[in-house]
């Protein structure tokens, strides 16, 4: 190596290290990639929150939708609730997965705060949750019309998350569906 270049070696090392560290600042170490991306939504035989009717996978697929894992014990779920309502009002189908919760508390929540969900799957023991790879609430899955999971968002959905991450994917899925 030319001696002149050697002088710059520490600087180059510093820049490379700084670049990695800077990138690390904006990475969320808690966000895990889902193992179920591009896999079908797992099958389940559970019930609906409002009227206890049986609910299975076939009842909730057929149209691209969001599947939102929520619970009344989950504080962040309360934070994202108004925005989910707003999304539902604008025509995005959202199914709820009421995760390890109590039915009465969950019904009261929907009565008091509004119900943005097409239907709510009662996952009292977290079995569907485990099949989905859920590790906390809220989590939201983007599922296409064929029932394939396309994306998972861990944490609160707000306007920024929707605009920057979910909406582009959502539009993409809708666009693919309208193709012949």
């Amino acid at each position: 190596m030319a001696p002149r270049l050697k002088l710059f070696l520490p600087l180059i090392l510093f820049v490379v290290l700084a670049a990695f560290l800077f990138r690390g600042l904006s990475l969320d170490p808690m966000a895990l990639p889902s193992a179920l991306i591009d896999r079908p939504l797992p099958d389940f035989q559970l019930t609906e929150l409002a009227d206890d009717r049986p609910l299975s996978r076939a009842d909730v697929i057929g149209e691209a939708a969001l599947f939102n894992v929520w619970a009344t014990w989950c504080i962040s779920c309360r934070v994202e609730h108004p925005y989910l309502q707003q999304l539902a009002d604008s025509g995005v189908p959202i199914y709820g997965i009421n995760y390890k919760d109590e039915d009465t508390a969950a019904r009261r929540w929907l009565r008091d705060l509004g119900n943005p969900y097409r239907a709510n799957i009662v996952d009292r023991d977290g079995t569907l949750g485990v099949d989905l790879g859920v590790y906390g609430a809220p989590e939201t899955y983007l599922v296409d019309a064929e029932g394939v999971i396309r994306y998972r968002h861990v944490g609160v959905i707000d306007e920024r998350v929707w605009r920057d991450t979910l909406e582009p994917l959502w539009r993409e899925i809708l666009a693919l569906e309208t193709l012949p």
């Binding site: 170490p29 889902s34 193992a35 179920l36 485990v130 099949d131 790879g133 590790y135």
Partner: protein
């Protein structure tokens, strides 16, 4: 020791023992061999929520669920491999402390080796660079050196 001190001391010791009972529920196993495998697998599986704990040490709800599943599957006769595959299919390779070697985890497994080799190569180059610069004197310097050595000999 008077009875009061004994009682107080006893209570204090109980306080110390609380953390030991706080974390883990205990499972009954039909065979002792299953319990050994349960211990090994719950140490190998990583809690997806808390990330730096295995499910044996973590009290997160998800760890409790995974331990329950682990117990059920062991009692149902699943092999270690089947159980790990079940977990990985849902939570990704992340859920294992020793992920399988594949395209996704290759960087993880190979990076330490590559870094070590890189470091060794760097060190080797550095050492060779040092060896390559033995003092070579041009003819003028050589003449001065001889002259100096001769004066030194004379003085001695």
């Amino acid at each position: 020791m008077n009875p009061l001190r004994t009682t107080v001391l006893g209570l204090l010791m109980l306080l110390l023992a609380l953390p030991a009972t706080a974390v883990i529920e205990s499972y009954e196993f039909s065979e002792p061999e299953l319990e050994v495998r349960y211990r090994a697998l719950s140490q190998e599986l990583r809690c997806p929520k808390c990330q730096n704990q295995n499910i044996a040490d973590s009290n997160a709800p998800i760890s409790q669920d995974l331990r329950r599943l682990l117990h059920q599957q062991l009692e149902a006769g699943s092999s270690d491999r089947e159980i790990l595959e079940f977990m990985v299919a849902r939570y990704g390779e992340f859920v294992r402390y020793r992920p399988a070697f594949n395209a996704v985890t290759a960087v993880l497994w190979l990076a330490p080796v590559l870094l070590l080799l890189g470091g060794a190569a760097g060190l080797l180059l550095l050492l060779r660079g040092r060896k390559q610069s033995p003092a070579t004197l041009d003819s003028d310097d050589q003449a001065r050196l001889t002259a100096l050595l001769q004066t030194a000999e004379k003085d001695a």
